[in-house]
């Protein structure tokens, strides 16, 4: 790693931009690893750029499209619940990187919420990169021990007789919560 990766140095001359602000320990480490991998010919700048573009292309719009179609097309909804990866393929969404994909259907009596208390497991093919709040210690802790409080802060107050089911996504399963269609949105 060259000295130039430290904060306050001038822009580098080896082909890519570096942030100008103070870097965290982890950021310094990841830039150092990147530079080494490039220097040793393991990967190229272009590989990294392609991967960034692939990651950025996956967005919550994919999940929104699945949900919206499930709301208006009962046959699709049945296929989505039965085989989510096949339903994604049908919609042109590449979900092949998910090991197992499970849909959790909300009802008037049951609501689901997903967290990964261990880290940041997230269904990236359908929602893109996890937002910072999802990865925060605060959400990861409170989603399991105060889920109704967290939901309230997101604007959802549920009656006591509704069952709240918190899924801690700790392994190879990725979850999509299929929300109820909002009232008043029928044709």
């Amino acid at each position: 790693m060259s000295e130039g990766h430290d904060a306050g140095q001038t822009p580098q001359d080896h082909g890519h931009e570096h942030p100008k602000h103070e870097l965290s320990h982890y950021a310094k480490r990841i830039y150092a690893i990147r530079d080494l991998l490039i220097e040793k010919g393991v990967i190229t700048d272009k590989d990294i750029q392609c991967q960034i573009e692939y990651q950025e292309a996956r967005s919550p719009a994919n999940g929104a499209n699945l949900v919206a179609r499930a709301w208006v097309d009962p046959a699709f909804k049945a296929r989505l619940i039965d085989d989510p990866k096949a339903a994604c393929a049908e919609m042109g969404i590449d979900a092949t990187s998910i090991n197992e994909f499970v849909v959790l259907e909300n009802t008037e009596k049951v609501r689901h919420m997903v967290v990964c208390t261990l880290c940041s497991c997230y269904p990236r093919p359908i929602l893109g990169r996890p937002p910072d709040w999802y990865k925060s210690f605060n959400y990861r802790q409170r989603a399991v021990n105060d889920p109704r409080g967290v939901m309230r802060e997101f604007g959802l107050v549920l009656p006591d007789d509704v069952e709240v089911r918190i899924h801690d996504s700790t392994a190879d399963i990725r979850y999509l919560v299929l929300p109820l269609r909002p009232k008043g949105t029928e044709d």
């Binding site: 261990l118 899924h167 700790t170 392994a171 399963i173």
Partner: protein, 97 residues
């Protein structure tokens, strides 16, 4: 998913092992030592405790969706019907006493 994998079936009562050991453990602390029931059998998966160190993940481990009453976990006033559901590998489970 191989739903006939593993030694537990949906509805079986289980207790999560109250163990600690170094390594890449996927069983959250708050659930260790707690009892719940098998909600769903997910089938066999490569063992992440092995994969994390560049090993082959074999033998595969059966993964379960295990449900717990929130009130049993936190011992405080929470929604009476509320549950927390955690994906847990078989080697972290014992039959509930």
């Amino acid at each position: 998913m191989n739903l006939r994998a593993g030694k537990y079936r949906a509805g079986d009562r289980v207790t999560v092992k109250l163990e600690d050991r170094p390594g890449h453990i996927r069983t959250p602390w708050y659930i260790r030592g707690k009892s719940g029931w098998i909600e769903r059998v997910y089938g066999e998966f490569l063992n992440p405790e092995s994969l994390a160190y560049g090993r082959d993940g074999l033998p595969r481990r059966t993964l379960y969706l295990v449900a717990f009453n929130q009130a049993d976990i936190w011992g405080k006033s929470v929604g009476a019907k509320d549950k927390v559901l955690v994906d847990i590998y078989e080697h972290w489970l014992d039959p509930a006493a």
